[in-house]
């Protein structure tokens, strides 16, 4: 479908965002000797093998013990280390919420919680592993920064950027092979939204894998004479409220798009911002209070209403409410 569209961003290669994390971690490790890695028996899945190979003395296999991993990481910061913990998003958040809350967030420790296989696009493993509540849990924690990059390049850049940032961070990425449509040499600014496409009728605020769907949706809307602005919200917390307000003041309505529950997700944060500053129609694209299931990423995105077609529908609905 997208091959025939006049896309503002294109790709020649697909890769998983978790590989962006693995490659970013290796570079961060080369730049800063204080960067250490911890993994709970998922080195291959998290793409942490290259870091482990190059820096064996700075890499710690924790076994299947995620609660311990979070505590270890918090302790390591006390001696100046910058720990990156790696496991699936489900085990990085829900399983260890109290450990993160007390030992990392409340204690304001410089731990980077790096979470792969987030959302429905994990695919066939099914709902036990497809966490759709992690952003909500993490953004509620004071001191926590929440980042959900959109492709391999942005994930790599984000991984390197959080190594230089002092404070707890939740970095969310995924499993599927996904278009690489952002530049390799991008500068990743934590907390700064990226206006990827200018438009005037509606703003699409997207995060993670859904940014690509937003890029496709923009081209589809353009074919119908609708001008959509696409803003990449890679940092969900702190939210770039200024960019959101400025854009919606111009377009008059918005759509949020994310691979997450509507409750507690990016859409909630955008709604809060708009209600307080610039009330305007907002439509949500996300999972509506249900668990996922087994299937291919594409099938699941379609069934649960997370693809470009759904963004197009939501954009039209938002415009109709203006």
């Amino acid at each position: 479908m997208d091959k025939t569209l006049d896309l503002k961003f294109t790709y020649t290669e697909k890769k998983d965002t978790r590989s962006g994390f693995g490659d970013g971690l290796l570079e961060a490790g080369r730049k800063n000797p204080n960067v250490v890695g911890l993994c709970a028996d998922l080195i291959g899945s998290l793409k942490m093998g290259a870091f482990q190979k190059e820096f064996p003395e700075r890499f710690f296999q924790v076994g299947i013990a995620e609660a311990n991993m979070i505590g270890l990481a918090a302790g390591m910061t006390i001696n100046g280390k910058i720990p990156f913990t790696g496991t699936f998003a489900n085990f990085s958040t829900g399983r260890v919420y109290d450990q993160i809350r007390q030992s990392v967030a409340y204690s304001d420790k410089n731990v980077k919680i790096c979470a792969s296989h987030a959302g429905l696009t994990l695919g066939e493993d099914g709902a036990t592993h497809q966490i759709l509540e992690d952003v909500g849990m993490m953004k509620m924690l004071p001191h926590m920064t929440v980042i959900n990059p959109c492709d391999y390049n942005q994930t790599k850049a984000a991984t390197m950027a959080i190594a230089e940032y002092e404070g707890p961070v939740y970095l969310r990425f995924g499993r599927p092979s996904w278009p690489i449509f952002t530049p390799a040499d991008q500068k990743f600014e934590i907390g700064k939204a990226w206006k990827m496409i200018e438009g005037k009728d509606v703003t699409i605020f997207a995060t993670g894998h859904l940014v690509w769907e937003a890029v496709v949706a923009e081209a589809m809307l353009r074919e119908e004479g609708i001008s959509a602005e696409v803003i990449n919200i890679h940092t969900i917390k702190p939210l770039d409220e200024e960019a959101i307000i400025e854009s919606v003041k111009k377009t008059g309505c918005a759509v949020s798009a994310e691979e997450h529950q509507l409750n507690g997700g990016l859409g909630d944060s955008i709604a809060q911002t708009l209600i307080r500053n610039n009330p305007a129609p907002l439509e949500y694209v996300g999972v509506n209070d249900s668990f996922g299931e087994s299937g291919t990423p594409t099938e699941l995105m379609e069934k649960y209403g997370l693809n470009a077609e759904n963004i197009v529908k939501a954009a039209k609905a938002a415009i109709a409410r203006k």
């Binding site: 001696n79 280390k81 109290d98 030992s103």
Partner: protein
């Protein structure tokens, strides 16, 4: 800090017990029982065993570090930190009150010197201490990391995750102590959730285990800590099973779980203080 001799440590302990009781009494909340039971241990660590700097640096490079996993016994820690100069003894007046740095459970949020991580939700301290100890190893820092846990806390699964990890990774600059008072909130551990043979469990997890049979006798506590220290650096983490009596030092509080989280009345406080010499001056 200068190493204090036995006689002085005993005196300090008396004052620390007064501080604990007065803090908890003033706000009519807090946990006096295990605070009193662990007084000798804290005094021994901060006034004799650990190399530490009361000017406080969060990283604690080239210092021994202490973590309190059973954070509810904050009164004893606050008193020992104040009495060793991390902050003024006067500040103990603010314990558990609004706008205080002396939170109900230890926290870093308000910047209280001496505290390196929040604790209160049980089971996390051994993981944190193990991480800190491992980071010291990477940094070529040869100092020791200490952590105290409760015995009831041994019911938390994370303790055993950390126990397995520390042995596997040969974190041998780590001394974990268990306050073995056999009491928890709902009653004796034997009735609430029997710990069975705790010593055998830690041995089976690959730790070097010592027992301090008289955890409320300063000479025994020092001897235990010296022994534990001598076992560090040999490829295994060290566990010190510290037998204490909850409420030790006050005749009507000793040996029962009833004073786990109850504050004394005016009359009870006067009675208790009458049993404890004021050695360093009340705040």
């Amino acid at each position: 800090m200068e190493k204090q001799p036995l006689e002085q440590l005993t005196k300090i302990s008396s004052q620390v017990r007064r501080d604990i009781l007065r803090m908890v009494h003033a706000v009519q909340s807090g946990h006096p029982g295990a605070s009193l039971g662990c007084t000798e241990f804290f005094v021994a660590l901060y006034f004799n065993q650990m190399k530490h700097d009361n000017k406080f640096n969060m990283d604690g490079a080239n210092e021994d570090l202490f973590f309190l996993s059973n954070g509810h016994i904050s009164p004893v820690w606050y008193s020992v930190l104040a009495r060793s100069g991390y902050f003024s003894a006067e500040e103990m007046k603010t314990f558990r009150k609004l706008d205080s740095r002396l939170q109900g459970h230890p926290a870093t949020e308000e910047g209280l010197p001496g505290i390196r991580i929040a604790s209160g939700s049980l089971g996390q301290g051994l993981s944190v201490a193990t991480g800190a100890a491992q980071a010291k190893k990477i940094n070529g820092d040869d100092r020791t990391v200490y952590v105290l846990m409760g015995d009831g806390e041994q019911q938390e699964g994370q303790v055993w995750e950390a126990a397995m990890y520390a042995a596997h990774h040969k974190v041998d600059n780590l001394i974990a102590t268990i306050d073995f008072n056999r009491q928890q909130i709902d009653g004796p551990t034997k009735e609430v959730m029997d710990l069975q043979d705790l010593k055998a469990k830690w041995v089976a997890f690959g730790w070097e285990v010592i027992e301090t049979k008289q955890g409320n006798d300063m000479a025994s506590v020092l001897e235990g800590l010296e022994k534990a220290k001598a076992l560090t650096g040999k490829g295994k983490p060290v566990l010190n099973l510290l037998h204490t009596e909850m409420g030790f030092g006050v005749d009507f509080m000793v040996g029962t779980h009833k004073w786990h989280g109850i504050a004394p009345s005016d009359e009870q406080l006067a009675n208790a203080l009458g049993q404890l010499e004021e050695t360093l001056g009340d705040y």
